[in-house]
């Protein structure tokens, strides 16, 4: 049925190597699938060969955009496994940098989303407004994009009052720009035509497909790890969970723009209420956590991110597992791309729909094991570990 139309792996509107397999009848997409395997590197396996301290730098490079979320998750995970407690001030600073990273990630997404709509001016504007945030990141952490800020036992640097004043000033200016973009999304007829009703995902579907992050929140599901399972000092920092019920690409855009405003407030509140004290406890480079398992969840810019670690008492993990928000949202995007229940999906809408979930494929690529007849092998974890050891 229909004609097979591949989009990718190299496509001008995919910044990463992704293959979107479409089955089309005329202009209508009837079926879709996403192949995210092109950037699979085998990081989970590589993490097993590194000590916990070395692994931090690899975990940071699972994804360059949400690296702060990955290191927050990794350090929270390993610290609770090893019984290390980061100082209170460090938790506040981690939260501030995590929210700054969310601002920069959402602005980046805004640019790329505008690019997929063919709105190049907005792409340039979003990237221009992102630069001051990256400058702040550089001043706080030392790195523009890959920050290396979170370390096991705290954070690498402290902030001084002069820097706090500067951060607040820059963020106040940014707030005005974001309010302008919100107005643009509410009033511009071209944006409305390209995004309203496009990429429909009803509340029931989002619930069944376990959508996370802004995708779930744009489908009227208030799902946010920061509220459901607070991990840093989220109980003490007031913020709202943004929920829209339009269930389309426009709603996802508005959720992200409103989240930037919330993040700005959160950073400002955090910096106003910084507790005093140390920012780091010294941890020996080759520490050995007790045998056991641990997992931690973090609300990355794209949704809930899960890290799992299993230790056997040595200085390296036996197994490290990462489940990224894009992996959770791939099922939703495949459903969005299908014409169903009278909602027709046109080929021209595919890039807009695909980028509306903010795909980050490089975090996502995982491996599936097949047997020689092409059937997927589903084995429990310890059997797979035995296979790996050649038993």
């Amino acid at each position: 049925m229909g004609v097979y139309l591949p989009m990718g792996p190299q496509h001008p509107l995919h910044p990463e190597a992704t293959l979107v397999k479409l089955r089309v009848e005329g202009e209508h997409v009837v079926d879709a699938d996403v192949d995210a395997s092109f950037v699979h590197r085998g990081i989970e396996k590589a993490l097993e060969h590194k000590t916990y301290t070395q692994g931090l730098y690899l975990a940071e490079r699972i994804c360059g955009i949400c690296n702060v979320a990955h290191t927050t998750c990794y350090t929270t995970n390993v610290e609770s496994l090893a019984g290390i407690e980061a100082p209170y001030r460090a938790l506040y600073l981690r939260l501030a940098v995590e929210e700054l990273a969310r601002i920069h990630s959402h602005l980046l997404w805004l640019g790329l989303f505008a690019h997929t709509m063919g709105f190049e001016t907005l792409f340039m504007l979003a990237f221009r407004d992102r630069e001051p945030v990256l400058d702040l990141m550089e001043e706080i952490t030392g790195g523009r994009v890959t920050t290396g800020y979170n370390v096991i036992g705290g954070v690498r640097r402290d902030v001084d009052p002069g820097l706090v004043f500067k951060i607040k000033g820059v963020l106040t200016q940014l707030k005005e720009r974001i309010l302008k973009y919100k107005e643009l999304f509410e009033s511009d007829p071209v944006i409305q035509a390209r995004t309203r009703g496009v990429g429909y995902l009803s509340k029931n579907e989002a619930g069944e497909l376990l959508a996370v992050g802004p995708v779930a929140r744009a489908s009227a599901i208030a799902r946010d790890v920061r509220i459901d399972d607070p991990y840093l000092t989220h109980e003490e920092v007031p913020f709202n969970v943004i929920v829209y019920d339009t269930c389309d690409a426009w709603g996802r855009a508005m959720v992200r723009l409103d989240e930037i405003l919330e993040s700005i407030n959160m950073v400002q509140y955090t910096l106003d209420h910084l507790p005093s004290g140390e920012v780091r406890v010294k941890v020996p480079p080759f520490f050995r956590p007790p045998p056991g398992e641990m997992s931690s969840r973090v609300e990355a810019p794209r949704g809930s991110l899960l890290h799992y670690v299993k230790s056997d008492g040595s200085d390296r993990p036996v197994r490290y597992r990462v489940r990224t928000p894009t992996l959770a949202n791939l099922a939703s995007v495949v459903t969005m791309l299908r014409s169903r229940n009278g909602k027709i999906v046109h080929i021209a809408d595919v890039p807009v729909i695909f980028s509306s979930i903010d795909p980050c494929i490089c975090c996502t690529a995982r491996v599936t094991i097949f047997d020689e007849r092409g059937h997927v092998l589903e084995k429990p974890l310890n059997e797979l570990l035995d296979m790996r050891r050649g038993r």
Binding site: Q10, V39, R41, R130, V145, T146
Partner: protein, 145 residues
Amino acid sequence: MLVKIANWAKARSLWLLFINTGACNACDIEVLAALSPRYDAERFGVLLKGSPRHADVLLVTGPVTRQVKNRLIRIYEQIPHPKFVVAVGTCTASGGVYDNCYNVYEGLDKVLPVNLYIPGCPVRPEAVLDAMKLLREKLARGEIH
């Protein structure tokens, strides 16, 4: 004389094709930042293109994964001559943090001939601009064709 004119023309319109072969996205967004208003690579005639057939320079980020290798070679073959390959980032040059990962080739030069390496993890936009400048100068002097 003709060669001189050709070199002059080539140096002033480097059009980029940009492909991620397993990078963590940090270099990708820094390359995009180099094209955005603050750094504005377009003033050097550098333009991002969507199709290999329009491009002169292939920017590759990431240690080349086994899955993407054949596609990368196919894209390289589709670029018309003269073509230049730039390896962006430490992991593209040598594998970097992905050293000893089972699914990567640990460096672009094991797959394609490379003209220029940009070090950094991730690279800074200034480094991307500097690379474009170097490439221009080399082209104008006729050192690479």
